[in-house]
Symmetry: C2
Subunit: 202 residues, 2 copies
């Protein structure tokens, strides 16, 4: 069992999302600029990397702000994320929050579980739910950073997008020397992004 | 005539040099980690990019801290940079400083001129000295950032090195939306770096 990060986009200045997240703007002022390589008619090497998101994954862990904007007590019980009735996860999803609430079962096999857990506990919960498959760490940047700091990530695919966001939430803060724990490979794409894979050394 | 940046390395977290520069450690705590792709037995795409550093260049502009550590009045007149008797520039080099001093003529065609000039003035001086050839903007990160902010850079080759420096001098600060002025291409390398070229739109 491994914990994997896939398709996690960062700007040249290291931001994993923009400033000013709302329910209408999940990536704040960044809009869709970090993910343009992923969505429209992807092809070639971008498509190969993008397709690695799902196979072999039995559960996802995500931070509160991948599921909803804001912090603190949940403002309402109606919000079920940005993905509509049938989210693209199709597995148990563990949403990290200091404000647990009952799980939400969606169409297509996704169930959101809201847990107040440290990174290592979350990995344990997700591993048990994954039925022998791998666990995907879905983001956002604060969550990925915390799991990297705790050395809980086995494989990470980061997409360096050639834009300068200027503000938002940084991925790399506090991770000086991170590369020493990983084997790193880089693949450029005609779309302009660089796919960087980091595989933890054994 | 164009102003070009070549082989300018930045870490994943956007640092163009480390913290704690001294005459013994020109890149501070970063050491040679940002430039390992460049120096040892370079080959393939790294070699192609590295070789573009010199052809067609008639003058270089560099910041004070590419020539020497420290700020303020010069501590002595003996220091002639980190490159020995015959620096690898072979052209006039304009060192930006608020403390002008007489020029230093080195072997091999390099002459260091110390000028207290704004970016646009420096480009004018270097252009006049370049004899119809291009001007290279040599760094460091503060200098490149200032010239980018003033929209004085026509072509920039940045090398994203897959390390997390954690501290130092950032290249991208204050340049939000920079990519809108440039056409951007990215080439990955087996060495693990990503070569990002930014060519100003006309």
């Amino acid at each position: 069992m491994t914990v994997r990060v896939h398709n996690f986009s960062v700007s040249l200045d290291g931001y994993g999302t923009g400033e000013g997240q709302t329910r209408e703007a999940p990536f704040g002022h960044a809009g869709e600029r970090l993910h343009e390589w992923f969505f429209p008619a992807r092809a070639g090497v971008d498509a190969v990397f993008a397709a690695a998101h799902d196979p072999g994954i039995g559960a996802e862990i995500m931070g509160r702000n991948k599921f909803d904007a804001g912090t603190g007590p949940w403002p309402d019980d109606d919000w079920v994320g940005w993905w509509g009735d049938e989210p693209p996860f199709h597995t148990p999803v563990f949403v990290l929050t200091h404000h647990p609430r009952p799980p939400i079962e969606m169409k297509g096999g996704t169930t959101f579980h809201f847990v107040d857990a440290e990174p290592a506990e979350a990995v344990q919960l997700a591993t048990e739910a994954a039925g022998g498959l791998d666990v995907r760490l879905g983001g956002g940047p604060t969550t990925v950073r915390e799991f990297l700091a705790a050395d809980l990530v086995d494989h990470m695919h980061v997409v360096v997008v050639p834009i300068v966001l200027g503000r938002g939430v940084r991925l790399w803060d506090g991770l000086e020397g991170l590369e020493e724990r990983f084997d790193v490979e880089t693949t450029g794409s005609p779309s302009g992004v660089a796919h960087v894979t980091m595989t933890r050394r054994r």
